[in-house]
């Protein structure tokens, strides 16, 4: 009895990084499931915003309310709070970024796909590079190249003796590590979430259907039921990561636009 409890899972291959290697659809190079989902999300998002903004009424119906709520959330809760005075220029970019990430993260728990686009890290790198270019270009245009560079590597009021320590740290943190953490945070959350779902579902399936022990079968049922709660958690994480990515992008733009006090 003891040995069957200790070594119950011989032959079970736990999901790992290789579970994310998907075949190309129809043999077309580079056209795999994340690509299909991203293209589909573009259709969904553009269709949604076009439909919402075409027939605007003074008294909104349900669809218009959802659209206005999302737009207000990004404009007031993210752009105005983080960027401040000149926030209106950046609202279209932030709304687009937020809706792209929201739809693509929700593919993680959506039937037929059940796979987050940004768990292939190239997508996260691309989005982070876009934010990096935007906040640097905006800062250079506002303060000039050397002015922006001095502001971003040297906070005001630092004594001269501390400069050799502060300047490398600030350079590393503001110019190099920001896009890396931005992309790794998004990628890591989506990757870990998908892995968690895979472990609960494939492990539960194995315990229920392929294990001999009755105890294991019962635990497998429990695991499959609990995977529903994990889906709920991942729905929250998906929405939250879309919010955080947009919020941090807006904050970086706001920081490179800020005047010294």
């Amino acid at each position: 009895m003891g040995t069957t409890l200790l070594v119950p899972l011989e032959g079970f291959r736990p999901p790992g990084a290789e579970s994310f290697d998907l075949p190309n659809i129809g043999g077309i190079p580079h056209f795999d499931r994340p690509m299909l989902m991203a293209l589909l999300s573009l259709v969904v998002i553009i269709g949604f915003w076009a439909l919402i903004s075409r027939r605007m009424r003074l008294v909104p119906n349900k669809g218009q309310f959802v659209g206005e709520f999302t737009y207000n959330f990004v404009r007031d809760g993210i752009a105005r709070d983080q960027i401040g005075h000149d926030f209106k220029k950046y609202v279209p970019w932030l709304v687009g970024l937020f809706s792209f990430l929201l739809v693509n993260n929700i593919w993680e728990v959506f039937p037929f796909f059940v796979f987050p686009t940004v768990s292939h890290i190239g997508w996260a790198y691309g989005l982070a590079i876009m934010s990096w270019v935007i906040y640097n270009v905006v800062g250079v245009r506002k303060h000039g190249f050397f002015g922006y560079f001095r502001r971003s590597v040297l906070p005001s009021g630092v004594p001269v003796a501390m400069w050799p320590i502060v300047i490398p740290i600030e350079f590393l943190s503001n110019i190099i590590l920001r896009p890396i953490t931005l992309s790794l945070r998004l990628f890591g959350n989506m990757f870990a979430g998908h892995l968690l779902i895979l472990i609960f579902v494939t492990g539960g399936e194995y315990l229920l259907l392929e294990s001999e022990s009755l105890l294991n079968n019962a635990v497998g049922v429990l695991s499959l039921i609990f995977s529903m709660a994990i889906f709920g958690l991942e729905l929250f994480v998906a929405a939250f990561q879309a919010y955080i990515f947009t919020l941090l992008s807006a904050q970086y733009v706001g920081a490179s636009l800020a005047d010294e006090h």
Binding site: A17, D81, T181, R185
Partner: protein
């Protein structure tokens, strides 16, 4: 005969160790938010905004640890 044999990479143990620090950090952040809300309930919205940013920055450490656990996953 060993009673329970473990095989594979130790990088998952390393990730467990790496997650301790961010775990404590996230706990401190939300403990501060709860305290602040108890003292001044109307300031909750402003505090939550800052707390989410702090949470995301702290959580990035755990996410880097997760990525490293897969990068160094040599058994």
């Amino acid at each position: 005969m060993t009673p329970l044999e473990l095989t594979g990479s130790v990088s998952s143990l390393g990730y467990g160790l790496a997650a301790i620090g961010p775990g404590i950090g996230v706990g401190i952040i939300f403990a501060a938010v709860i305290q602040g809300t108890a003292r001044q309930p109307e300031a909750r919205g402003a505090m939550m905004g800052t707390a989410w940013i702090g949470f995301a920055l702290t959580e990035a450490l755990a996410m880097i640890g997760l990525a490293m656990a897969f990068v160094f996953n040599v058994s």
